[in-house]
Structures are given as C-alpha cells and as structure tokens.
C-alpha cells in the first residue's frame, strides 16, 4: 500500500512538472515558481489590493477555526487550491465570502498562497465525535458505496480513508463534518458546478442521512488513525 501510494505521489509529481514542460503557455522559458514567503504574507496580512488575511478564517496554519464553517486547507494540493480559487472567480463555484476574495487576488497571489498552505502539516484539533452508528454508516458508504443507490465508494477517488489523491483530488480525512455536508448540499443545489459529471451525479444520489454519515466519518479519520497507532 505504501509503495503504491509513493508511486502515485511520484507519478502525480510528474504530471505537475509535465504541464510546465509541454504546456503551450510555458513554451518559452521556465514557468514562474510560486513564492511561498509571499504566500505566507498574504495568509497573515491580506493584500494591499484589499483581500483580507486568509488566516482570519482558515488560521495561519490552514487548520481553520474548528467551527466547521471554514474548511481545513492545510496540506491540500497547490493545484486543487488554485483550481478552487479560479472557479470562485469564474463563478462555477459560488460563495458569498470566497468569491469576492478570490477576485481581489492576482493569479500570482493565488499561486503563492496556495503553495504556502499546501506545504503545511497542521495538527488536527480535538472535536466532538458523532455517534458510532452514524460513523459506521459513513464508513460503509466511504469504503464500499451503496448498491441500492448505485453510488460507488468515495475512497475510489479520494484515496483510502479519504487521504486524497493529489494533485486533482482533495483529501477528506480530517475535514470538518459541517463543511463536507455543506459542500455536498452545494453540489445538490447547483451552487457548486466545478465537477458536473462526477460530484454532482454522486451528491444528488445521497440523502441527508447519507451526507451526515459521510461527513461524520471523514472528520474523525485522523483521530481514529492515532488511536489505532497508539494501541
């Protein structure tokens, strides 16, 4: 498993490089390398152009404030974070808070701050656990799917235990339950349209109970991993 994961990581790293080498936009000269230090400044202070500091909601370490209103973004891939910002700008993903902030940032700012948060390994805050039954139902959906609903396992794409398959697929492990549930409803209701062929299809097959179960399961994955490791 570990070997395969390493392989995937290595393979994905090649993808990232390849865009730089063969993409027409970078046909001449080397692509711009993101400035992580500048990203950290944006996270802490915002920009002169008016974007507020990311840390106000997402915390300086990307772990966010624990309320679940704001997603954990620490260690999420640069590519995924950049894509979400550009989707907020284009409108295929809409959010009253994030859409104007994304529009206030330059492409270089976005690249820098995405690279900054992608590089952080933030601790997971202690959170209240949902009922064991709900978590178990979520785990079943996440790992096996539902034959009755023709829904495949979330882990197929999001990786074992929802660890993510960067660069394209975000992690869900340790993500706040409230955020996961909210986003699945955004898919259902059409406010989030940046994966119409896959995530929209799946989200519309889930009911509120399924969503609550999945959200509860993925939030507690890192905590349960630590428990297992300490045994």
């Amino acid at each position: 498993m570990t070997a395969r994961r390493c392989f995937l990581r290595a393979a994905m790293a090649v993808v990232t490089i390849s865009f730089g080498v063969v993409g027409p936009a970078h046909a001449q000269g080397t692509p711009r390398q993101p400035d992580v230090q500048h990203g950290a400044v944006i996270a802490a202070q915002g920009t002169a152009a008016g974007a507020p500091a990311c840390a106000q909601c997402h915390a300086f370490n990307g772990g966010s404030d624990g309320s679940g209103a704001f997603p954990r973004i620490a260690g999420q891939s640069t590519s995924y974070l950049t894509q979400q910002m550009s989707d907020f700008i284009s409108g295929v993903r809409t959010n009253a808070i994030m859409s104007p902030i994304a529009k206030a940032l330059s492409p270089e700012d976005i690249a820098d701050v995405a690279a900054y948060y992608a590089g952080i390994n933030a601790p997971f805050p202690p959170l209240a656990r949902a009922s064991a039954a709900l978590i178990q139902r979520g785990e079943q959906l996440a790992k096996v799917g539902s034959a009755a609903k023709n829904v495949q396992a979330c882990d197929n794409c999001h990786g074992p235990g929802g660890i993510g398959i960067p660069p394209a697929i975000p992690y869900l492990a340790g993500q706040y339950a409230q955020y996961i549930a909210f986003e699945l409803k955004m898919w259902q209701r059409g406010y989030r349209r940046n994966s119409p062929e896959v995530m929209f299809m799946i989200a519309t097959k889930l009911d509120d109970q399924d969503i609550a179960a999945l959200a509860a399961y993925y939030q507690q994955v890192p905590a349960s991993d630590q428990t297992t490791a300490s045994k």
Binding site: M1, V14, V22, K143, M201
Partner: protein, 592 residues
Amino acid sequence: MAQRLKPVDVVTVGVGLTGSLTALELAKTGLKVVGIERGAPRYTVPDFQSPAIHDELRFSIRKGMMQDNVKEAVTFRNTSDQTALPIRRWASFLPGTGLGGSFVHWNGQSFRFQVADFIYKTHIEQRYGKKFLEACGPELTIQDWGVTYAELEPHYDRFEYLCGVSGKAGNINGQIQPGGNPFEAPRTREYPTPPMKEPYFGALFRKGATDLGYHPYPQPSANLSQPYINPEGLTLQQCVFCGFCERYACEHYAKASPQTIILPVLLKNPNYELRTNCQVLQVNLDSTGKKATGVTYVDAAGSEYEQPADLVLITAFPLNNVRMLLLSGIGKPYDPKTGEGVVGRNYTYQTVGGPTVFMDESINVNPFMASGANGTMIDDFGGDNFDHSQLGFIGGQYVGAIMTNGRPIEFHPTPPGTPKWGLGWKQAVARHYNHTVLIQQHGTSTASRLNYLDLDPTYKDAWGQPLLRMTFDFPDNDIRMSQYIADKVVEIGRAMGGKTVVRGGTKRPYSTTVYQSTHNCGGALMGDDPKTSVVNRYLQCWDAPNVFVIGGSAFPQNGSYNYSVTIGALTYWALDAIKNKYLKAPGPLVQA
C-alpha cells in the same frame, strides 16, 4: 443421479454479455428464464470497489477474474502432429468467469465490423479473383457469414445505445463525417455520447499519422465520456481515467458491463432466476438426438441437477460454447484430415502487436492517466481498406496509439540492449516509463483448415469431462499481412518524433505464453450451408433447432476489430429472430 427440476421455457448456459442480454429480452416476453453461471455473483458495489479492485498482483498477474484453469483448462498445440498440453497459466487470452463474464474485464474498445467483413469470401473473390485467394494460401477457408452488415446495422445501433458508446461517427448514411473514421461502415446516427478526450500520446500519433496522409480518429469507447442513461433506464457515469480497465472491473459505473447496463433490470424481472456457481456439464438431447430437453449441471455443493427447458441458449465464452456442443454431441465434429464436419472448424484469433516508440525525455506521456479504449487510430490498413492486388495476402489491421494503463508491475518499457535485470534495467525503466508510446496493430485472423478446436483425448476437467483442445498457428498469409503493416507503422512512429522505434508485427509460431488478445473466434460458425457451418444465419443449430449458440463462436473468421460490439449486435439479431419467428413457430428458421 441428477435431481430433475421443474421445467422452464428457456435456460442460458452462462450469464455474461450474451446470457444476460438474451435473458432480459425473453423474460420481458413472459417466458420463464433460468440463467446458469459457473462463477460467483458479483456487483459494482460491493465487489468492484477500490482499493481491492486495483490489486494488480491479484487481477493482472494472477488473473483473478479468469476461468479457473486448475478446474478447467484448455489444451494447446500449434499443429495436429504435436501433443497438446494444458494451459495452466492464462497469458495469450483471458477467458473470464463469474457473473457478467468476460464483458466485465474487457477494455471497452467498441467497434463495428465493416461491410466487406460479412461477405468476406464473396468480396475477396470479386475484387481480386479466385486465383488470388488460392495464391494467398491453399489452406485458407474463409467464408461469408450468412448475414449482411445492412441487416445487422439496427442491432449494432441498439447495442451501442445500450452501452452508451462514446465516439465520433465517420459515416452517417454514406455521408463522410469530419473528425470520424472515413472507413467506417455507414451508421444511421451519431454515437450515443461524444468521444473521449484525446490524451497526449493520441495527439502525438494524430500528428504523425496526419503528416503521412492517414486518417486519424478517436477510438470508440464503452468507458463513457459523460454520464448516460441507457434505454433500460440504467445510469452510467463518467470515466475518471484510473487506468484499471482490462483484467479489472470498473468501480465507477463508467464501463458498460452486464452489471451496469443489463443486470439490475434483469434481476428484478420476476420471470428470471439466476443460479451462480453452477457448472453445466452438457445439453441433454431426446432420443432422436435432434431436440434438446434441457441441461445437466452441478452446483457448488456437488449436487447434480437436470433443468428441463424448451429452448437452450449456449451463451458462454466462445471457446466454451464450442466445448459445450462437443460434450453434448450436437453437430458433427470437424475432422481436419477429411475436411468434413463442422463443430470446431475455422477457429480464428487476432493478429496483434505493434511497435514501441521511445520518445525524448521532454515528452511526458503520463501513461497512468488512462482508460481502456482511449486511443487515436487509423483504419487506412484495416480489413480490405487498401488495395491488396500486388501484396500477396488478404486482411489488414487497424493501427493506433492505444495506451490502456501505466500500471507499475506490467508497464516498464525499455529499448533494445537494456539489461534484463539489475541497476541498468531499473535506470532504463525510470528513464523511459513516462516517455514511451505503445502503438497497437490489431487485425484480421484468416481461417485455415489446419486450425480447429476439438476434445482433448487425455486431459479432463474437475468434473471428469475432456478439456477443449486448441490446434492453432497463424497462417503465413497473416504473417505477411502483419509484417507489411509493421513497416508502415514504423514510419508513423518516426513521424511522431520517436527517437527509437522498435518494429512490431506478428511472428510464428503462435505462443500462448504472451498476452495478445481475448478475441477467440469460431468453432460454431454461422452460415448458409450446414456442411460448412454449425448454426444458421440466426445462430440456430442446424442439428437441434431448439438450441442457439450465441457469441464470437459464430464468426467464420475474425475481422480487424475488437469483437465485443459485433457479438452484442449478433445477439440482438438472433433475439429478433427468436422473438418474432421462432417463438411463433418453433422449428428450423432456415431449411437445410
């Protein structure tokens, strides 16, 4: 002593593509249908989910989805003067087992055959003359199918819409369509869904082929480019390019398989009963030997049952269709010495094997982002699309950059001169893994009187019945054809920018130890003449009119293309005759 069960209207031997498709159509008419499957039941959820389904060692190397050849192997020899031995490790071809059959682990490459394929002998003799055909090889025994492309077209259409095939039409009602395959047989409408996105290796091939004046087009795929609801009301999802198609089942509901396009509806039909882990031993005949009375099978507990049925459909893998006829004594077995007899005759295969194109390190192919039928192709050398009159062979191959995976155990291309192991090998794999394009040549297999299937005189299966014996080598004609095209394809590899192009092409002898294709054809041919065919044009046995043998076993010889969609079309064609002719007046649909 077998326990005799309550009679039913229809029994299918095998529940793969043809077994589930026929069962659904006939159960809908009100007939009681029983499907008998030797393997286990299995479903997208829970059986096909990751990470277990991406176990390369289990499924690719140990062939986890294939017929258990400890219990049931095939014996093989190249020529009839050799002694055949059992194939105990599948390599050259991979017959599936379990609910859904081989249509679960296929790659999704979804072609129609061409107009000339169905009238092959007539077409070749008309275009080049009888003497030309004889000069290609006196042993060649090609023949017409007894059904025409025009007759099959509506059934092709129906099957493609059942699967949701993603592609770009090249010929709609005779009008050539830009972007499609100009050599395509005329279709009445577009593919159900648009073609897959072209990967980088496809774009490289497109450029090379275009520069040389060929006609590239996107390969039609049953791993879908977008979500699709089929006419049975079942939803398929979009392929996510995980690179685990052939030898695997799809975890995303994105590949057409019985599990995604037929079974959920069939299994809800009250007229249908599925029995899994049940091995059919034979089709039973009455005292006249001209009428089937049902089948005898053994369940997982070892108990033997007789299932009486009015209509018996043999719907197993093509090789097993032929074996079932031989075990049951239906039809006269083929005798290569006299050329008489039909069952087992004209066993054909597929000529495959193209060049490997090693690119510069600046070209990143990313082979792991793959789907099973996502190639860019040309048909300029397919079938009879080019003039053979000066070439001394018949047949052809499609050519395409089709990279179905970059899986770590199986995919490590290295150029000639690389050490076979050790540091030098590892360095070469690291250097070339992401900078190599595989080009596929995939084409016709010409029938020969020397190639056939019969029962092995020595080796038996776990139930004590003789194994199927395969006697096969490629006719010289097919070697000449493949080698001629191999030269042309090397030019394409160079035009793509290949630094080193390792030439492909098929060689003799045929070996069962290297994967080539699971398109095993023939042995229970369809045709107009009972002397040269086992089933009539409706796939009905000449010798037992209440037995139909459905699948690739009916192909008189193999065309250039992957055969699954043609099997689907033939199944609908046979069903049309069963529903609209046979059920109204049971008996021979064609007088011998």
